[in-house]
Symmetry: C2
Subunit: 141 residues, 2 copies
Amino acid sequence: MFSQACKYAIRAVLYLAVHASEGKKAGVKEVSAALDVPKYFLAKILQQLSRNHLISSTKGPSGGFYLSEQNREATLKEVVECIDGPDVFNSCILGLPVCSSENPCPLHVQAFAYREGLHYQLKHQAIGDLAKRIEREEQKI
Amino acid sequence: MFSQACKYAIRAVLYLAVHASEGKKAGVKEVSAALDVPKYFLAKILQQLSRNHLISSTKGPSGGFYLSEQNREATLKEVVECIDGPDVFNSCILGLPVCSSENPCPLHVQAFAYREGLHYQLKHQAIGDLAKRIEREEQKI
DNA sequence: TTAATAAAAGATTTTTTTGTCTTTTATTTT
DNA sequence: AAAATAAAAGACAAAAAAATCTTTTATTAA
Ligand code: FES
Ligand code: FES
């Protein structure tokens, strides 16, 4: 479903949402250590998210990555599409050129349900809200 | 979700289920042309399925691939696991070392539900039955 | 205002996946 | 028995994804 880079991106964004803020930024080193993810690879991913304004960053001492209030209103769908491209949620699970209910592949009904369930959550839940839920329910990142 | 090889495998097996039989075998050339899939790559995939007794084959003139009656009783789950390995249906969508409802990641609930829907179909529907449904409902492969 | 810090950017390397080509082996038809 | 056919096997090449390293730029704290 998601590329390795995209999995790292989602986890990193959620980590930032929970553990960082404008006043308490987190560096690549901290995030990569906390999530047990390759440091330099993660750096690239965070850069890409930053360029696309899905996370915020500042250079220099006491600099690092964090989520602005605006960033917290975005959704993971945007994060996913920033890394894996725009077709993640509408491509056929068997790789047919188009996915549609009019011309369904044999797995379409189930695959579509799965994909849409996930899509719906990622699309409608703000990252900030997700973070609160993670803290409340003590979910793993 | 599925590797390219696995997508090709599923489609090829379904093609054989619909268009081939012990009396009317299909060669790599036919299948790759019908599904618009790289020939030599598909050959490797069919070999692997054949070695694992998920499809049948014979060499020589009028040889080719087909599904025996026994093959038709198998499921696509077995095909998928033959190509992509045994963890496809129980690994965390975010790549955490284990996926469980006790230690869920933030996407677990949706991801699990979605995955299980698909898993259930692939696990409980015999390839032979799927083929009949494909013919009946004129689904695309 | 200098030194230290940390992200940004760029260039490379490694690994995995995908795809191709050639040779061998089994089978069948002539 | 010989020729033709088609899968099996093995070796290889190309492309994509993942991971690493180095240099540059911006910022801040001393
Ligand atoms: S057509 Fe294949 S998943 Fe929709
Ligand atoms: S724990 Fe992540 S999908 Fe189950």
